[in-house]
Subunit: 250 residues, 2 copies
């Protein structure tokens, strides 16, 4: 058997999330359908770096799977892209050791969140940005971003529904915000992320930008470990799983 | 009765074109459904500057309709946008004289066509650009663009299926091409356009960019008035009806 790692992109707008579900169009479902076709009906299971929710996009999700086929990597890419639908694309296929696991071996992930800061909605951005109509103090947001960097328990900023057992401690290497015209880009790089963590943090950062909270509040919110203290999870369509790094990659 | 003109935007990817059709989701169908709801079940017909095909987008389509309601223009806009789906948006509503007609009174239209000039497809661009993988000579394209400007009979560059009777003569005020990174933007401004005209012309301009034709061929192709002489109509998803001008507007 060969173990293969793929870097994949998808436009999340027409998928009911990543994880396979009966009767729903999911990333895993479409990918496994293509692999099963290549394997003449034998079901091939894929394993992602992590799931993504309905409407969330990926510029660099990674998955692994095993196959008895020994074919050149470029042919793997071509064959898969021929069979996959237009909103799901394989960027790269590489061979990995038997011991590799797309989820357990992650050392760093990057997410981005895009906000369209205009009063009026834009039909071309509705699936790719979160439209936020209020005037924002970007410097206050940037100051708050720095409060999130480093190692913290992120219980306050993760879904209460999270099934993750164990520590809610994660390390964020970068949290940043930049405004270009009406587009606001948030970048998060970290050792790992809890369920809904980016969407909850960006929601709080937007509250700060609107003046409803202060950058200085963050330390207290982190310390209290209480999801009830912050606002709702903001919509999925602004969120992109941007890249995933593994041991030994630079 | 009040006569109203609306400037509307739509993302054409989920519409089976503009014109109403039974069992298909069309721009006219969705718009008239919203208007009929506002008019308590009385059907209100809309009239566009012209139809657009399946997959074609609009940044500034115009329509007119008549209504017995005398409500402030801003409320018209709000009410319609509340009832319309997310991929169809009313930008502006203005009152127009009884004699106004969104189609017959057009004095100028602008279309744009966007090409994604990369070897690999991009899941986020598939509905908004035509992906063209070949290396292009942009200067040759720009030279050819100039050959289309002015008044010509565009029979060679319009669908043979066109039902338009009368003259195939049109005046193009601007035909231009600009490359920014991997994106190529074509702009067409003219007195009017024949069916599929922009998509056929851009197809020929791409042939020229690839070196399969010369800019000097255009005059002869125009003179021969024969649709068979040029290639296929390129895909709709790169095409945008950008704006429509009427008498008295600057």
């Amino acid at each position: 058997m060969e173990k293969l790692k793929c870097t994949i992109n998808y436009d999340g707008s027409q998928f009911t999330g990543f994880q396979i579900q009966p009767k729903s169009r999911t990333v895993q479902g479409e990918f496994e359908k293509a692999l099963t076709k290549m394997h003449k009906g034998t079901h091939v299971r894929i394993h992602p770096s992590g799931r993504t929710d309905t409407g969330v996009h990926a510029k660099g999700q990674t998955i692994h799977f095993e196959s008895p086929y020994d074919i050149p990597l470029y042919n793997w890419k071509q064959a898969l892209n021929t069979l996959l639908p237009g909103d799901l694309f394989v960027q790269e296929v590489v061979k990995v050791p038997d011991s590799f696991h797309a989820r357990y071996d992650v050392v760093e992930k990057e997410y981005r969140y895009y906000v369209w800061n205009e009063r009026e909605s834009d039909v071309f951005k509705r699936n790719y940005f979160y439209q936020f109509p209020y005037r924002l103090n970007v410097e206050a947001i940037q100051e708050a971003c720095r409060q999130f960097e480093g190692t913290h328990d992120f219980t306050t900023f993760s879904s209460a529904k999270a099934t993750t057992k164990g520590s809610k401690e994660r390390t964020l290497y970068q949290v940043s915000c930049e405004k270009r015209g009406s587009e606001i880009e948030f970048i998060f790089r970290g050792s790992g992320f809890l369920y809904n963590m980016v969407r909850i943090i960006v929601g709080v950062l937007l509250d700060i930008g609107k003046g409803r909270r202060e950058p200085a509040d963050i330390a207290g919110l982190l310390a209290k470990k209480d999801r009830q203290l912050v606002g709702e999870t903001i919509p999925p369509q602004g969120l992109y799983l941007w890249s995933v790094k593994y041991k030994g990659e630079n």
